[in-house]
Amino acid sequence: MTTHVFAEYDDPRALAHAIDDVRAWGAVRVEAYLPYHVPEIERALAARPSRVPYAVLAGGLGGAIGAYALQWLLNGYLYPLDVGGRPPHFPLAFVPITFEMGVLFASFAAIAAVFVGGRLLRLWYASSDVHGIESATGWRFWLEVAPLDRAADVDSLVEVVQRTHPIVVRRQEVT
């Protein structure tokens, strides 16, 4: 059983300051909930750059190489039909489908990377039971600090958070 501390703010700058304060206090696992992307919050969280581009590169190369190989297999090897004297393995004619499949599989990889990296597609999250956190998809900004084991730490953290002028502070027990 650990305790997560949540706090609600009406302004992203206040949330960014709160993140700085709890990190200065020693909190390691800090998360923010936002109705839209705010670059200052990302900077305050000192998050690593997203790895989505690597997934896209892998997906795109895989799609393109696979499409070229399949075209060669179909028209260059399995069914080498002579059409107007053009060679069965004809790289120039293979370009459009290679390009399209590269783009298609790169896009699939981008979406999959968001699902995996953003930890979507789950039925329950620690934040799900926090009263009022629905406003994070509306117009409010939430802070989550977790996990902290000792009760004394939690009290001390709540004090730090209270000093950042949140609208509300909540403790959430998570098993």
């Binding site: 992203p12 936002l34 705010v38 293979f94 499949m101 298609l104 953003g118 930890r119 998809t137 117009w139």
Partner: protein
């Protein structure tokens, strides 16, 4: 008139209430009438398609030499209309054009619904549409594989990719708004439905980081698609030897025409919707003006394409090319279609040079409708008039559509409208989270 891209800077809560409140609004009398007409036309589409499939495409007006005719005219017209959606959502995003935010969701939906209509035509034109999967390299026991050195499998790959990437891009943009709808839904049923489609989005900063990275990359990936899809469609023509088709100008000419007609359709849809939903402060005169300017620019590229086509026909010295452009199209069978094209695409578009016209909602609506008519005529001129007058005079024949051709076209307009009306009722048609972000940026700039 205001030049702002978000008039009055409404608060985030106000934006939330107004933009996400649209799916909860009851459809008015106008919506019900539009829905009834669209449904009736969709029924007509079902009847015509059923008749075509059960009888064969002999019920169309296609003949020899005009074997492509309206089926392909409508394919090219619809897929062209889709292009403005991707142009607005992807290319203008990469160029950091903030005005796109109010209309990008709207335009993306238009793209998806237009591509769906487009896909119907080549499927029916196959003659035996139930064998459409032969276009794809599935492990067939007959071991007869698609001929990938032909433009037809290129088309299948390009259109499938375009639709899929547009759908992914649109859906990714929708996820934060679906989560917001889930969290603020008035009923449990809506909460569950929107919750399922929100895919567990909570708005955590980690998810936003990956989301923004993926959104930017998808915009980058969708950008070459805008150029490639219609370039490949144009290759269907350009690799043929038919007079008027065998031209290297076709890819850029087709792409410009696609964006031209797409922006016209965006305006045809945006103008009534902003009036009905009272969104004049979110979709401002600046948006309409910018769309009109882009329509003018792409229209001028199209006019340049016409000039080059005529010049090259004359300069080539080829009698068939010269006859095609200087006799067949302007004075041959179906010549009124050619002159309608000239009137709509060349003459009327020049009105957009006038700021007064660009800022007049009524004028813009009428011009946009006429541009769509003009671009339909352009496809007809290229395809039908091109085929009517090929090399051998003994092969010359005129073409006229049957009621089934016209019924299918009217039906696709109805089906497109039906999908659009349903979209307006079920989903937020303005990207609300992006609008809130834009509002914050504008507020900062105002205070700076």
């Amino acid at each position: 008139m205001s030049d702002a891209i978000l008039a009055g800077l409404p608060s985030e809560a106000e934006l939330q209430r107004r933009l996400l409140g649209t799916p909860a609004r009851r459809g008015g009398r106008g919506w019900r009438i539009a829905f009834a007409i669209s449904s009736a036309l969709t029924l007509l589409l079902v009847i015509c398609v059923t008749y075509t499939v059960s009888t064969g495409i002999g019920v169309w007006g296609n003949n020899i030499p005009a074997a492509w005719a309206l089926g392909i005219v409508h394919f090219v017209w619809w897929i062209g209309i889709g292009h403005a959606g991707t142009f607005i959502s992807a290319i203008l995003y990469l160029f950091e054009q903030r005005w796109r935010t109010s209309i990008n969701r709207f335009a993306e939906a238009m793209t998806l619904f237009a591509v769906l209509q487009a896909a119907l035509f080549p499927l029916l034109h196959l003659g035996r549409p139930w064998f459409f999967y032969w276009l794809f390299p599935y492990p067939a026991v007959m071991q007869v594989w698609p001929q990938v050195r032909s433009a037809l499998p290129w088309d299948a790959a390009a259109v499938t990719t375009y639709f899929t990437v547009s759908l992914l891009f649109w859906y990714l943009g929708l996820i934060p708004d679906l989560a917001s709808l889930r969290d603020h839904a008035p009923t449990r049923r809506r909460r569950i439905i929107y919750g399922l489609f929100a895919l567990g989005w909570r708005g955590n900063a980690t998810a936003w980081r990956h989301y923004r990275s993926a959104y930017l990359i998808l915009a980058g990936l969708a950008t070459p698609l805008v150029l490639s899809v219609h370039s490949i469609v144009s290759s269907d023509f350009a690799i043929g030897l038919t007079p008027g088709w065998h031209s290297t100008i076709f890819p850029p000419f087709f792409v410009a025409g696609a964006i031209f007609s797409g922006f016209a359709m965006v305006l045809v849809l945006v103008i009534p919707v902003r009036a009905v939903f009272g969104l004049q402060d979110v979709i401002t005169p600046r948006h309409l003006d910018n769309c009109a300017k882009l329509m003018l620019v792409t229209g001028l590229i199209v006019v340049y394409g016409y000039v080059v086509e005529f010049f090259m026909a004359w300069y080539s010295g080829d009698p068939a090319e010269r006859y095609q452009f200087f006799v067949g199209r302007p004075f041959g069978p179906n010549a009124p279609v050619f002159w309608t094209m000239v009137a709509c695409n060349v003459v009327i578009t020049q009105l957009l040079w006038l700021r007064r016209i660009r800022r007049s909602v009524a004028a813009l609506f009428v011009i946009s409708l006429l541009v769509n008519v003009g671009m339909w005529c352009e496809r007809f001129v290229i395809i039908v008039q091109g085929l009517q007058r090929e090399f051998l005079p003994s092969k010359w024949h005129s073409y006229s559509p049957t009621w089934v051709d016209l019924g299918i076209f009217a039906g696709t307009i109805g089906f497109f409208s039906l999908l659009f009306l349903i979209f307006l009722r079920l989903l937020p048609f303005v990207a609300t989270s992006e609008m809130k972000e834009l509002r914050r940026e504008l507020a900062h700039e105002e205070h700076a």
